[in-house]
Point group: C2
Chain length 230, copies 2
DNA sequence: GAGTGGTCTAGACCACTGG
DNA sequence: CAGTGGTCTAGACCACTCG
């Protein structure tokens, strides 16, 4: 009768939330009681409830107790894959082409790269990733050479700066944003779509502590979808 | 000298990855050894390493050991907030307006709602959420009345079906996708933007086990960005 | 078969927070 | 101050997976 593993406890708790034994906003029994009821250690219950709290299904507060979240703040975990891997996983042939690589003390682009100051010593790179020869995504990137110092002679002719950076420059944290925009004329040519067609964009900046390592703007082909599950 | 809490262990491990004591792809010492070195229990090390594996920083395999991820599969956790809450958190005044509510055995929209079959008994709802009176997002939703049976007389005049569903119909899982599209003429009027302007869309379907509860398409105002951190 | 991570237990103490 | 979750420990056994 005993539920003596944390996944079992989690399932049982979810069941009770689902069949409304415990209703949204209500407080559920404390860990000790549940442990007694299930016939397992408190730590096991703790593990299960903590996992559910991480998912946003439960709210936990010391002294108060554990409540069923009123509005389960849907938390979706997006995996941001390597572009190469994403394409290969679709069973397509991946290819990469460098378009531009310039020293640019001052980003002269239409966009102003988030978190970068114009005084930084920046390397600008533009490249395109293709799937079975069809344009997939344009990578437009600034690299902060104050932080990334070992790339002087490095040329990203054959390999995406994305992969090189991931493997060679560890980061502490990052900021990322998703948006839609009307494609610029220049990029629409590269992506082989009509100008001002709607395109999906990802803007990502990674940091080493306080310093920006790199900022990248990914402009995807038409109809690109970022998918995940809840 | 001992590191006797799991956050401390995590920090130390991250430090070593960061300063390349442990390089990408390399195997790190086993839990037992680390526990001995840090002077703490193995479970504590386990907790720290497990958390890092969840984040995608480490790869763990039984018998083999723990390795530093070659390409840290950036995992971003998106919080999908309640629209009302999202607007209120910006310090704006939230308002909601129902536009349409029809029984529709057959979705006659341009889009084909993912995961729904046309034979289902569907309720279609269209509504708009505003921020300080400015259009924020259009909610366009199908509800499966085979599953959600207690809403006969329910009218979503004042309240978003989103909130009602969250509080009243528990779900087991969901699928979600993000994309960009050129705004339809009809919607552009509602959002007060130019036709065919690029807009950000979220398509979400929630399930109760195998059955679809609801599918919603959210079409955001121009310039909307979904942000998160790594 | 053997080595690694995965988990459980029982008991203990800590940390936050509401009254 | 008291009650709740948060965490740690030491030891044990299990589960997966490689050779």
């Amino acid at each position: 009768m005993a539920i003596n593993n944390w996944l079992g406890v989690q399932t049982e708790v979810l069941k009770r939330i689902h069949d409304r034994t415990w209703k949204p906003g209500e407080i559920i029994p404390r860990e000790t009681d549940l442990a007694y009821e299930f016939g397992c250690a408190r730590v096991t219950v703790n593990r299960a409830l903590r996992a559910l709290a991480d998912k946003g299904v439960l709210d936990r507060k010391r002294k108060v107790g554990t409540t069923v979240a009123l509005y389960p703040t849907s938390k979706a975990t997006l995996k941001i894959p390597l572009i190469r891997k994403e394409i290969e996983d679709l069973g397509k042939v991946y290819s990469y082409k460098l378009l531009k690589q310039t020293q640019s003390k001052f980003p002269k682009e239409e966009r102003l790269p988030t978190h970068l100051s114009s005084s930084d010593n920046l390397l600008y790179i533009e490249a395109i990733h293709s799937s079975d020869g069809e344009p997939f995504v344009i990578e437009s990137r600034y690299i902060n050479q104050k932080v990334v110092t070992n790339l002087e002679s490095k040329v990203f002719e054959k390999n995406s700066p994305n992969e090189w950076l991931l493997a060679n420059v560890p980061y502490t944290h990052g900021a990322i944003s998703f948006s839609a925009t009307n494609c610029s004329a220049e990029k629409s040519t590269l992506l082989k779509i009509n100008p001002s067609e709607a395109v999906f964009q990802i803007d990502r900046t990674t940091f080493d502590r306080e310093q920006v390592i790199t900022n990248v703007l990914l402009t995807y082909h038409k109809d690109y979808q970022l998918q995940t599950s809840l």
